[in-house]
Symmetry: C2
Subunit: 302 residues, 2 copies
């Protein structure tokens, strides 16, 4: 049982964490910290935070067992620098950012000798709604939370963060920050960039109205992630610039090969690529749907 | 009321056409033509065809008001050449192929002076299942069917094909074959190629197992269309080679621009692209969901 949990950012990610911990009976007192007074008021009303604080009042973290940073990832360094002087030795801090190498660098700069108290994390869950009313109790049930522990983290610190996510129903995975960023560059950040690029490309064509008129369900699903927050994905793209460039270059090389096959009318090469993709996707889908049933809704973020 | 309709290929597309015509009371007699004796037997059993014929027995089309070609598009020329000598002046032929310029060329070669009896079409509907049991009565309800009439088509010929699709619940749109192929290269054929390319690219990486382990719902939807038939999409890619190359080149140029913005750390340029895409997609989604409610299933073809 955690005595006091402090959550910076009490929208979808932070609010769902609070709701799940409370539902599991895993926390006594939740402090919500948010720039938005309206969000704080609503979270108090919904009952998933017990007290509210503004970002300036870092004494809110006094006596906390656990601090979760669930504000936009660009604010991580600033938040950590502000709370560093108030950080007591028994308090463990974690985050929910979609990139990890940049977060670790910001945390090292902000926390200095207290870096061992910071256990980086990334819950692999989301939807396109946000704000306190978007917070749901089962957002993390059966979903992965990736922790990317640092050499300075004590096993107890890692265990406290893992235990909180497990209380929310999440399954803990562990990667290094670099592995994490390479993996998500390939399976998440690149697809987002590609989807945004396609919709933007079509929108800028002179006959875009005609094109959109005939776009159907395949286009809708392919571009669903282009419904995600542009600011958030701008930040993720830049935070994971090196790994994303590597994946984008590999994909550009793949498209260039496929273009050559298409231009040459090489039916066998096209079919080999398409068939390999279909087979690999089916195999993956069979594996993943066992673990995570599909969500039918038009959810955008993850 | 059509007296006799002959359907080549009685799986999802042809079978759903038959079911819908029958349900609407718009046809007296449906002849199913298929290579598969099992498909024919099952379609007879399900009652949506009244008699069955093998592809060789082209006398089946005698006295037909309407012939629909719903076999794989690569067979179009061969089927038309075989039925041309048996084609009576009052019989109108249409098709359901995903590309139109190549179908028109094949039809001109096969039908010669009878080309006025061929009205090309493309119903914008589908799902990843196939065979007689996949055929459903409402596949076309509220969906677009694009006709690409030829200068040689009499207005009555076009009206007969349009009337049959309308009886199935479809909304008729008209494009030239060239417009059709350019539009679908952009909004359907290119996304399919891109999705296949991404899954194949990831599958061929040495650490693909790790990558697939963390692929989540965004990846699933982005790559849904990579679950489609490799043979069908090989044929569509090659049938629409010129328009698809044009769209692919425009997209490669777009990705190259976006890569430069990413490499330069140009946050404003990235955000402008992402935000324009999000805005355009939201606008499109609001328009399309009014007309076509989303299908929650993991459907692949369209």
């Amino acid at each position: 049982m955690l005595n006091k949990v402090v959550i910076f950012g009490i929208g979808l990610i932070g609010g769902s964490f609070a709701r799940a911990l409370k539902a599991a009976g895993a926390v006594r007192h939740v402090v919500g910290v948010d720039r938005s007074q309206a969000f704080l008021a609503r979270a108090l009303e919904l009952g998933y935070i017990d007290s509210a604080a503004q970002p300036g009042s870092e004494e809110a973290i006094a006596d906390a067992d656990l601090v979760l940073l669930a504000a936009p990832v660009a604010q991580t360094g600033r938040i950590l620098a502000a709370l560093a002087p108030h950080l007591q030795p028994h308090t463990i801090v974690t985050d929910a950012g979609s990139t990890k190498s940049d977060v670790v660098a910001a945390a090292r700069a902000a926390l200095g000798g207290k870096i061992g108290q910071f256990v980086p994390g990334h819950p692999i869950a989301g939807r396109e709604t946000n704000g306190p009313d978007a917070a749901i109790v089962d957002l993390y049930v059966g979903k992965k939370t990736v922790l990317t522990p640092l050499p300075e983290n004590a096993p107890e610190a890692i265990a406290r963060v893992a235990g909180a996510w497990q209380a929310c129903g999440a399954i803990i995975h562990t990667l290094t920050p670099e592995e994490h960023d390479k993996v998500f560059a390939a399976v998440s950040h690149l697809p987002h960039l590609l989807a945004y690029a396609l919709v933007d490309d079509i929108e800028r064509k002179p006959h875009s109205g005609l094109l959109f008129q005939y776009a159907a369900s395949g286009f809708r699903d392919f571009t669903r992630i282009a419904g995600s927050s542009p600011e958030m994905w701008r930040d993720i793209s830049l935070a994971n610039q090196a790994a994303l460039l590597t994946e984008l270059d590999a994909y550009l090389a793949q498209l260039t090969r496929l273009r050559a096959s298409l231009a040459a009318g090489d039916a066998a090469a096209l079919e080999a690529t398409y068939a390999n993709a279909q087979r690999a996707r089916r195999q993956w889908l069979a594996a993943i749907e066992t673990a995570e049933p599909p969500q039918p809704k038009d959810t955008a973020a993850e």
